[in-house]
Amino acid sequence: MHFDSLAELWQMGVHGPWVWSAYGICVALIALNVVWAVHRGRRVRRDIRGLIRRQSLQEKQ
């Protein structure tokens, strides 16, 4: 590792706040994007299952 300790890695000289805030915000955005895509996939599957169920109920009536 380039830094001698984890505390030094956190401080990054004087640039710690800039580097870590940039990574924090941007990694959260990228992760949210993935979670959002997966979540929408699940919701669409659930909606289609609902459609099928309603249709089969109507057919029975």
Binding site: F3, W18, S21, A22, Y23, C26, L29, V34, V38, I48
Partner: protein, 313 residues
């Protein structure tokens, strides 16, 4: 030559795909990698051999190649096939993207040496450069899909645009945010109405425009065509973003990585290696999110068909 004779030769499809991609990859890395000449020559020779093998295959079995291309076109153009193939590829793409991004970011943050002028603030490039390049690449991909959607009316091309746009918007936002946070300690300002920064902001709005257009028009085919048109026209802005630092006086630095320049890359290998890992990782992340979104869109559009009902049950 008949396809029967080719199948007797017993060459699997993967062989050609792998040899072509390794050949191209070897050439690209040879140009941008500033390792000692010996290492680069060995690397290139290996890639070149793979390329020659691919070329030999193309000459020897042209029909097989043509048939494979045609098969891919039909399979990727057919929503159920695409859905199935994407499902097979996704777990592997997730693994590759995660490994590349995690190794690249940890290497860049903790192990790469500091910059002699910027100190540690330069470590933001491991976020900024991959995101920017992915945002540009994604728009070009959307433009190509838009062209296919307009010319051949391929439904999968419209779905591809819908799947790519959110990823592109997020990457453009990441590029702008990380650049702003880096700019404050380095330039003394978060933002400046500079050619590169402004054209990148326009790219972000173009992505939002494509998304908004898709949501504003009720009929999916009509919405798809409108979005395809905006995707094709918007590619001109990608060219402006790319060359803005050469065409206008800009506070933003010029390109440091050069594929075809005689000097090669201006970045030291110890900093370039993690950057390349992050960039390839981001491209795999692109594949992951686009395939997930495309699969969702296929399911919704084909919700009345029998195969979807079997799939979700």
């Amino acid at each position: 030559m008949s396809s029967d004779a080719v199948s007797r030769a017993g060459l699997p499809a993967h062989f050609f795909v792998v040899s072509l991609s390794t050949g191209l990859l070897a050439l690209v890395t040879w140009f941008i990698w500033s390792a000692p000449p010996v290492a680069r020559t060995v690397w290139l020779a290996g890639g070149w051999t793979a390329g020659v093998l691919f070329y030999y295959g193309a000459l020897r079995y042209p029909h097989w190649y043509w048939q494979t291309l045609e098969r891919w076109y039909h399979q990727l153009g057919s929503p159920p096939h695409f859905y199935r193939i994407a499902g097979l590829w996704l777990p592997w793409l997730v693994i590759i993207a995660t490994v590349l991004c995690v190794v690249g970011v940890v290497w860049g943050l903790a192990f790469a040496p500091p910059h002699h002028e910027q100190g540690n603030s330069y470590r933001i490039i491991y976020l900024h450069v991959p995101a920017s390049s992915a945002a540009l690449m994604a728009y070009v991909a959307m433009g190509v899909a838009g062209l296919v959607a307009l010319v051949w009316r391929l439904k999968m091309a419209e779905i591809a645009i819908k799947a790519i746009a959110p990823f592109g918007a997020v990457m453009a936002a990441v590029s702008l945010l990380s650049g702003a946070i880096w700019g404050r300690p380095t330039w003394g300002t978060y933002w400046i109405w500079d050619a590169r920064l402004t054209s990148m902001l326009i790219l972000f709005f173009m992505y939002l425009g494509v998304i908004a257009l898709q949501n504003a028009i009720r009929d999916p085919r009509q919405a798809g065509r409108a979005a395809a048109l905006l995707s094709v026209v918007g590619v001109i802005n990608v060219v402006i973003v790319r060359y803005s630092v050469d065409w206008w006086q800009s506070l933003h630095q010029g390109s440091s990585m050069s594929m075809f320049g005689t000097a090669g890359s201006a970045i030291h290998p110890s900093m370039l290696a993690p950057l390349l890992l992050c960039m390839f990782g981001t491209y795999f992340l692109f594949a992951v999110t686009v395939l997930v979104r495309a699969r969702t869109e296929i399911l919704w559009r084909e919700r009345k068909s029998a195969w979807v009902r079997e799939e979700v049950a």
